[in-house]
């Protein structure tokens, strides 16, 4: 056993773990952070978009030193059928501000930098160390962790579980349930490298301006899922994800879906001639508010993806991770400053603080959307995109048909596919879940 005792052990060096470790180290706490990868970031996968506000709260001067890719000035939403997409684009020069709001990043590189800040603040980081078990005392309180290193038992007042969506410790210890096929998505991604001038020309960008594209429709073959294309400086992150339950049910392959998305006539020209340098996969929490587990207990808290904190509608995960990590650390700091033990009763303040933040408020707002999207996936991801595409084609194609007849045909196609009751029901369900 390692004799040294810590104020806190943080399991994981992703967004949540780094935010927690940094916040506690800055308060002068003695923090040990454990990471199973060779370096921080080596096991982490994300699209990835970074939201400035949440990082600014931790590292105000991050823009001067963090490895950022492009600041996002344009957001495109695409609804796709097999040969077309209907798009909504929002581009604004206002995003070319002094302190941009969103950036594309490359996680392995970003996380290395983030971790360097954590260590500068005084935390101890041990990489290549897999935590295998939580250690309990005779009263069942969590008092430390066991690792796969020799003499690997380490003790601390509190353990912060920032072990990611597929974290084993908390589920093995019975602190929360294992993710279920219907509340996690599997996303696969490729990194496509191109000269930066080529990327800027293809996406209509200058300098460090960036674009992100979120796409849904027949690309997910009726499953609940989304594709994404993010422009980095010298590469494009391209991926697609669907609910694991849908993959299980349909027998579709993730790589088959990815390659089909890549060869879609709207997508192929964007990545033509690129050199792929990595293929990755990761689970994404999709259950929303209703799948958030118990967040604290005797000697432990859980943060980030491990706690299913992900806003599937707005595609926000890493900022919820960072914020929950920071808030958990502040709560722990508060308990410590009062000289009180890290009991469940005292740590419950973490949940109170999180409830008051945008993290839980946003997830609560959309609490009914994940179930709706998951049960109505055929309609929302297959039928409607096809209908809307046909309607658009009907609208723009000039062929001598009187406009009134065209509109009638469009309406008829909607009613035929979903019926009046179906259309009305879908609209009501969506409106209710959105509100």
């Amino acid at each position: 056993m390692i004799e040294e005792r810590f104020d806190a052990i943080v399991v994981g060096a992703g967004m949540a773990g780094n935010a927690a470790a940094l916040t506690m180290a800055k308060r002068g706490m003695k923090v040990l952070q454990l990471e199973r990868g060779e370096y921080p970031g080596s096991k982490n996968v994300q699209g990835a978009i970074l939201y400035a506000d949440m990082l600014e709260k931790l590292i105000p001067e991050f823009r001067e030193e963090a490895p950022l890719e492009r600041h996002v000035i344009e957001q495109r939403f695409w609804m796709m059928d097999d040969r077309s997409h209907v798009g909504m684009h929002y581009r604004s020069d206002e995003f070319n501000e002094e302190r941009p709001n969103r950036y594309t990043i490359i996680r392995a590189q970003f996380d290395k930098w983030f971790s360097s800040k954590v260590r500068e603040a005084g935390a101890t980081l041990l990489c290549e160390t897999t935590v295998t078990e939580l250690v309990r005392d005779e009263r069942e309180r969590i008092v430390g962790v066991r690792t796969d290193r020799r003499d690997g038992e380490i003790h601390a007042d509190v353990v912060v579980l920032a072990e990611g969506v597929n974290g084993l410790l908390g589920t093995r210890a019975g602190l929360r349930a294992r993710p279920r096929p219907d509340n996690v998505a599997l996303a696969v991604k490729e990194m496509h490298f191109l000269p930066r001038e080529t990327i800027e020309a293809r996406f209509n960008l200058k300098g460090d301006e960036g674009v992100v594209i979120e796409a849904a429709g027949t690309i997910s073959r009726g499953m609940t899922g989304m594709g994404f294309i993010y422009a980095n400086k010298e590469c494009i992150s391209l991926g697609i994800g669907c609910l694991v339950a849908d993959f299980q049910r349909t027998g579709q392959t993730p790589y088959g879906l990815l390659d089909q998305f890549k060869s879609h006539p709207s997508v192929a020209p964007l990545v033509a001639g690129s050199e792929v340098k990595e293929y990755s996969a990761h689970l994404i929490p999709e259950g929303g508010y209703k799948s958030i587990p118990q967040l604290y207990g005797e000697g432990w808290v859980v943060v980030g993806d491990a706690a299913q904190l992900n806003n599937a509608i707005h595609r926000e995960g890493s900022n919820l991770a960072m914020t929950s990590g920071r808030i958990a650390a502040e709560a722990i700091g508060l308990v410590k400053s009062r000289g009180e033990p890290m009991s469940a009763a005292n740590l419950s303040i973490y949940k109170k603080m999180l409830d008051d933040s945008f993290v839980i408020k946003d997830l609560k707002k959309y609490k009914d959307l994940p179930p709706l999207m998951h049960t109505q996936s055929q309609n929302f991801f297959l039928t409607y995109p096809q209908l809307i595409s046909k309607a658009m084609q009907n609208f723009v194609r000039v062929d001598g048909t009187p406009k009134a007849e065209k509109e009638k045909a469009t309406l008829k196609s909607f009613v035929k596919a979903r019926s009046w009751a179906g259309l009305f029901g879908d609209a009501c369900r969506l409106a209710r879940a959105w509100r």
């Binding site: 996968v45 597929n166 084993l168 299980q248 790589y255 340098k277």
Partner: protein, 98 residues
């Protein structure tokens, strides 16, 4: 539309960097004579195609190309069909970009 595209996953995995822990696979398939529906689903759902059918119709795993997403754990650990652990510290896939 639903025709399986001839994607070679092996080519995709070739881009990645791994430190293989020889002799210590982190995922194990429970011995079986006839695979469960959950095990069979892994043949398609695993993004690295680590699972394959052997000549006797049993599901086997080769973890060398595993990208540690956990999909198989979510599908087939509840039924006891597989045992899932993280690789030992420092081993497994090491993402350069993530």
């Amino acid at each position: 539309m639903n025709v399986e595209s001839p994607v070679r996953v092996e080519d995709k995995l070739y881009y990645n960097r791994y430190l293989v822990d020889i002799g210590h696979p982190h995922v194990k398939v429970r011995a079986h004579t006839t695979p469960s529906p959950q095990l069979l689903a892994l043949l398609k759902a695993c993004p690295a195609r680590c699972y394959e059918l052997n000549d006797n119709g049993q599901v086997e795993i080769t973890v060398d190309g595993c990208i540690e997403c956990g999909t198989c754990r979510v599908i087939a650990e509840p039924t006891g069909d597989i045992e899932w652990s993280h690789p030992r510290g420092g081993y497994g896939v090491q993402f350069k970009f993530g």
